[in-house]
Symmetry: C2
Subunit: 250 residues, 2 copies
């Protein structure tokens, strides 16, 4: 959706989904954002996998390296924007079985550590997004994400729960949020069918209560399908969110 | 899970997942079932697509025909067993875009009609199972299933809602069940994470209420992952279902 529309609807910031930050007209984009007084909360990076096939857990050394380089480029841009960088779809999928699986898991960890180290140097937060079983086999639940974050042991790696994925993977959405607590660095709201909040059956007031319980004070991102069209989806999301809380910044 | 275990746990019947009914030792199986006093409520047919790649909506004429033949074989066996036959995964996925999509949709309808006609002749019910977006692009929601059933116009084609898929696809699980009403011929219970009911966050008492509202009097099938193992999953499902209702046969 156009940034102008987002601003007009009342949004304070946006998420940018970028293939390669080094090829983005950064100055032009930053001028535009300043003009509209919009923040960029996050840079989404999954396109690197979906479009080009490079991923942090790829079987091929070269593709892992290219994925790391893309993340580094996003981190550079994020440092300029004051944004965080999402590590979601760019993890890819582990295609090998058994022993091969473990081996790739270790290689992926090396790639991920390289990204985290670079982010630390630039003062940028990386957001690990658990994604449902159909899209990846690397980190589906918040608990799995927490274990990984603990293993890496950096305060520059945080968790990004997404309510659509949580609806499929978590035994209890609210309890998982509470358990994750201060490890949560950002959150995506989408309803159970990936439509705008209010058009599915997720109990968002309960999710908001859980966020309040852990004193989450960051923004809430809306990541939904552009249905019936992008404007209507963004409008519904903003109206619905405003109706259930005045206290959570969107 | 072994049929003996199912019987011991209290189940009155089972679902058989079969690749090719014509190659099943039908007499042996029927003796076994009689010995245990277990019914076969349904024959699941998805293996034909997952294992052999034949599907009702395949791009290849030959594969569509083989899928139809498999369904006919299952219908013959179902007639002997007094079972229904599920049309779920065997629909496959439509791989073509735009015009090609519509064309395959029509060819799939011809294949489906052939199955329905054969089922009518044998007095067997076919159960159309809506499946979530990640597994198919042919009938994801109950409403889409209802439209298809209406188009085919046979009382031998009924709907099979599955709560795991509904959790992803339906705006409201209960309202969809009520809307489908007497078109529902069977139902699968699985929790939001495909584990046994009670281990996820689906509100099953509300689903049961919806089923009572439409006066559904058939059995409830349990289709869950064998986690932590098959016996424990079946045990949890039976115990949980018994705890929430004494009135719905399992």
């Amino acid at each position: 959706m156009g940034m102008k529309n987002a601003k007009d609807l009342g949004y304070t910031g946006v998420e940018l989904s970028l293939l390669d930050s080094e090829k983005v007209k950064q100055e032009w984009l930053m001028d535009k954002l300043e003009e509209l007084n919009l923040k960029v909360y996050t840079i989404a990076t999954g396109q690197t996998y979906y479009t080009d096939g490079y991923s942090l857990y790829s079987e091929e050394e070269d593709k892992r390296q290219r994925a790391v380089n893309r993340v580094k480029g996003h981190i550079d841009f994020a440092a300029r924007l004051g944004s965080a960088v999402i590590i979601g779809g760019i993890r890819g999928k582990i295609t090998a079985q058994a022993e091969g699986f473990k081996e790739l898991e270790e290689k992926g960890m090396i790639a991920l550590r390289a990204c985290v180290k670079y982010a630390e140097g630039k003062g940028v937060i990386l957001l690990l997004e658990p994604v449902n079983r159909y899209e990846t086999n690397i980190i589906n639940t918040l608990d799995e994400g927490l274990s990984l974050i603990e293993e890496i042991g950096s305060d520059h790696l945080k968790l990004l729960p997404d309510t659509f994925h949580m609806n499929i993977e978590e035994s209890s959405i609210e309890e998982s949020v509470v358990r994750a607590g201060s490890s949560i660095g950002y959150i995506h709201f989408a309803d159970s069918n990936r439509l705008a909040p209010g058009w599915g059956h997720i109990d968002f007031p309960r999710v908001i209560s859980a966020l309040k319980k852990i004193k989450y004070s960051g923004p809430v991102g809306i990541e939904v399908l552009p249905k019936p069209d992008d404007y209507k989806a963004a409008e519904q999301a903003f109206r619905y969110m405003s109706s259930i809380t005045k206290k959570v910044r969107i």
